[in-house]
């Protein structure tokens, strides 16, 4: 463990990465179990699964880029793109099922007009539900969220790799930090959110504070871990 200016930079990178993950979760249209039954807007699974899925894909693609270069920018970009592809593929295939198998029109119950397409929403919301499917605004929001999650994951992974040089250990540690921040953020939105147009999105400063405290505690121990003596 040698402490120098780089250690502080690594520490800050981990904290920023954790915060990006925490905020990114707020953008992802998570519908939970109701969405799986087409009774709520969003993707039909929980926040943790979605955050973990996009984060791990981001981590994988960042790791792949890291085997080629040491420059942080392409690594972050690859992480973001990997996570975005994963999230978009999930939303796209999910949309096919909602459209062609369930037969539900896509509508958001939280806004009267889709902020992007300006289409009217209330006439299409089935009575007794809180919207169905993944409308355009949710799709765009989800893509932004995935990009933030991917950058966050890569930003945690990169400094860890610089510190301990062991891909397996760095990945596991990054997943640990990722899980903590994603769960804290998903508690903040209490399970479901539609995206940046949802009123619940305004609660993000709470998640910011929570993730800041948690990631600082995790980041301090992350920079203390050393590589194997044999130089793994």
């Amino acid at each position: 463990m040698n402490f120098d200016a780089n250690t502080i930079i690594y520490f800050l990178e981990i904290v920023v990465g954790g915060l990006l993950v925490g905020i990114g979760v707020h953008f992802v249209p998570v519908g939970g179990a109701p969405a799986a039954m087409a009774q709520a807007t969003g993707i039909g699974t929980g926040t943790v699964q979605l955050a973990a899925g996009s984060g791990l894909t981001g981590l994988l693609s960042a790791g792949l880029m890291m085997s080629v270069t040491d420059n942080i920018w392409p690594i972050l970009a690859t992480g973001a793109v990997g996570a975005m592809i994963m999230m978009d593929a999930t939303m796209l295939t999910g949309s096919w099922i909602y459209a062609y198998a369930v037969g539900a029109p896509f509508a958001s119950a939280k806004v009267n007009y889709d902020p992007i397409t300006k289409f009217s929403q209330p006439p299409y919301v089935a009575p007794g539900t809180v919207g169905q499917g993944i409308p355009t605004v949710c799709y765009v929001s989800g893509t932004i969220g995935a990009a933030m999650g991917g950058i966050g994951g890569a930003m945690i992974y990169y400094p860890l790799m610089q510190i301990n040089g062991n891909p397996a250990m760095s990945a596991v540690f990054a997943i640990g930090i990722f899980m903590v921040d994603a769960v804290l953020a998903s508690w903040n939105i209490q399970g479901t959110i539609e995206g940046f147009h949802d009123p619940k999105f305004k609660k993000w400063p709470k998640a910011f504070k929570a993730c800041l405290v948690a990631t600082v505690i995790l980041g301090i121990v992350a920079v203390l871990i050393t590589p194997l003596s044999g130089g793994a």
Partner: protein, 271 residues
């Protein structure tokens, strides 16, 4: 149901002491036995020690989630394992650096308990959960995640040294199996049994049952890292634990059910 089934009711404090002491003592006992005999056949003791932690964690899950956290039970299990994996890596690494490798498990546990308490505090104060047992529950959960990972890591590596665990568990990728199987053992019991008639004994017995299955999984991994003998012992022990607690769980489920009817797929004697 006329059949009398063994049940139990334990206080959270009691369970916490059983979980922490049982698990730590078990892990060190396993490490000591392996060192003293010069074999790795006692790796299964580490897997059994993890079960104590799992029971403590499963109880914490049922206490916290009974209030309703809005995101489903799996999230809290993943949080527990996420905190655990960070704590284990940190504890083992820092102990190695300070030259007190044998205390790694204790350092990991202490760090995880503190971190769990802080996360609980954040959840209540910042997020406004207002769940009275949140701090306590997350402290238990974080500790349980750490002990589960530590115990099953030992079951695969056969040693508590940082280097052995990193080479045998992390670099091989077996940690992913521990992560999910351990998470299942902690989060699944309440997820499967929740509802108005959720009973502590049924939930916890289910937890040990899933823990037995996780032990089988780590045994299969240990076949590769520790060799045939240690791996097979672990698989057999895991199977025994699973079978015993499966039968017990089945009886408890019948005790709590209003009626049990067969579908015809199983012979009537199996019910």
């Amino acid at each position: 149901m006329a059949e009398k089934v063994k049940g139990f009711k334990l206080e959270p404090k009691q369970l916490r002491i059983y979980g922490l002491v049982g698990s730590v003592v078990g892990i060190y006992l396993a490490a000591f036995l392996n060192m003293a005999t010069g074999t790795n056949i006692f790796a299964f003791v580490g897997a059994l020690a993890a079960l104590f932690g799992v029971v403590m964690g499963a109880n914490a899950v049922r206490r916290v989630c009974a209030y309703g956290i809005g995101t489903g039970v799996p999230s809290i299990g993943m949080l527990s394992l996420g905190m655990g994996v960070v704590a284990v890596l940190f504890g083992l690494s820092i102990a190695e650096q300070l030259g007190i490798g044998i205390l790694g498990a204790i350092i990991a546990l202490v760090y995880s308990l503190i971190f769990g308490y802080v996360v609980g505090l954040i959840a209540n104060r910042v997020m406004g959960f207002n769940i009275p047992v949140m701090e306590e529950g997350l402290t238990d959960l974080s500790g349980a995640g750490t002990l589960a990972i530590l115990g099953w890591c030992f079951a695969i590596s056969g040693s508590l040294s940082y280097e052995a665990i990193v080479t045998d568990v992390f670099n091989t990728g077996f940690l992913a199996i521990i992560f999910i199987c351990g998470g299942l053992a902690i989060l699944h019991p309440f997820n499967a049994n929740l509802g108005p008639d959720e009973k502590q004994d049924r939930t916890l017995v289910n937890g040990v049952m899933v823990g037995g299955m996780s032990t089988i999984a780590t045994g299969v991994c240990a076949l590769m890292t520790l060799g045939l003998a240690a791996g097979m012992v672990e698989i057999v022990v895991g199977f025994a634990v699973w079978y015993y607690f499966y039968v017990w769980y089945f009886r408890l489920a019948k005790r709590d059910a209003s009626a049990v009817v067969g579908t015809g797929l199983l012979p009537p004697s199996a019910l």
